[in-house]
């Protein structure tokens, strides 16, 4: 889902850089207060693991593939702010070293994958609050993971649709094309997310019980829960 350079209009790309950077400030600030001894190794393994997983495209249908985004997976382990920071690290390295995702489009890609993943985390938190136990965790993770891919695709489609390169097609055409593929890719995202969580619950369940790095808004205090 990485937008390359040359697709987005410059003002829009700059705006998305500004929005993403602005949202990263509280994420880093909160992480600076909440990161403990046990967070660092887990966050490093997960972030590197997401980088590796993103290299492994899985085929879906009609000659198209998808790959894990991984933001919700990290969110389930470490909370939405940690997910945002981790995804940003992955996206910056991919753009700078691997030419995957544009330089000018980096702000947009951080928005579509890092910020959207942090938002999607709350789909997980809501479901987990309603459905207790392992069932709630897995259902929440699957749906939130799927949601993050679809929401990211919608964001990317709107960004592309607003840019002059795609103006001729109209936003509906690019939106429907993006949605068609990503509704399917999202299922893969959900399956991989649930598999990793199941494996962790069996081998190291303690890794899922670290305090979450999340905003501490009183009015939406879902992130703090385990």
């Amino acid at each position: 889902m990485h937008i390359p350079d040359g697709f987005l209009d410059l003002p829009l790309a700059i705006l998305l850089y500004a929005v993403s950077l602005l949202l990263l400030v509280p994420a880093f600030r909160k992480a600076g207060m909440a990161v403990g001894e046990k967070h660092v190794p887990l966050m490093s393994v997960l972030t590197a693991g997401v980088f590796a997983a993103q290299m492994l495209n899985f085929p879906i249908i009609f000659g198209t593939s998808g790959h894990l985004v991984g933001g919700v997976l990290i969110g389930v382990f470490l909370g939405p702010y940690a997910a945002m920071i981790s995804m940003t690290i992955v996206l910056v390295i991919q753009a700078l070293l691997f030419g995957d995702g544009g330089i000018i489009a980096m702000g947009a890609n951080i928005f579509n994958m890092a910020v959207v993943a942090a938002l999607s985390y709350y789909v997980y938190a809501l479901i987990k609050r309603g459905v207790s136990g392992k069932k709630g965790m897995m259902a929440g993770a699957f749906i939130a993971a799927w949601f993050s891919v679809v929401l990211g695709a919608i964001a990317a489609a709107i960004e592309l649709g607003l840019s002059s390169t795609f103006q001729a097609f109209g936003i509906v055409a690019i939106l429907s094309a993006m949605l068609f593929w990503h509704i399917i890719i999202g299922i893969g995202e959900g399956l991989i997310t649930v598999s990793v969580l199941t494996f962790t619950l069996r081998s190291r369940p303690d890794l899922l019980t670290l305090p979450k790095i999340a905003p501490s808004w009183r009015w939406i205090n879902l992130g703090e829960m385990g």
Partner: protein
């Protein structure tokens, strides 16, 4: 470094080595959507050192992808570790300051 961290790194690196040949070469959802509309991808702004997850001078495409991937994997690990440690350091400093005042 804890034992589980080393094990996890080894497991992921091994999975990468095993799964790279099976990774799909088909365009991803966004590439496909763009292609359907007939828009050509512009050349990249930056000549990234491992462009397209390959090491330029390695002929064998499996090795080329694997080495690029492993470099990226360990680089992301090290960078996250460094940032995490720096954040934790800030936390410790804040706590100490909080205790004194």
């Amino acid at each position: 470094m804890e034992r589980w961290v080393k094990l996890a790194l080894a497991l992921i690196a091994l999975s990468l080595a095993v799964l790279i040949p099976f990774a799909s070469m088909f365009p991803d959802g966004l590439e496909r959507a763009v292609k359907t509309l007939g828009v050509e991808e512009a050349g990249s702004l930056l000549n990234a050192i491992f462009h397209d997850y390959a090491v330029g001078f390695i002929e064998n495409s499996y090795l080329s992808t694997l080495i690029a991937g492993l470099v990226g994997f360990f680089a992301v690990f090290a960078i996250t570790w460094t940032i995490g440690k720096a954040l934790k350091h800030r936390k410790t400093k804040n706590e100490t300051r909080g205790n004194i005042t």
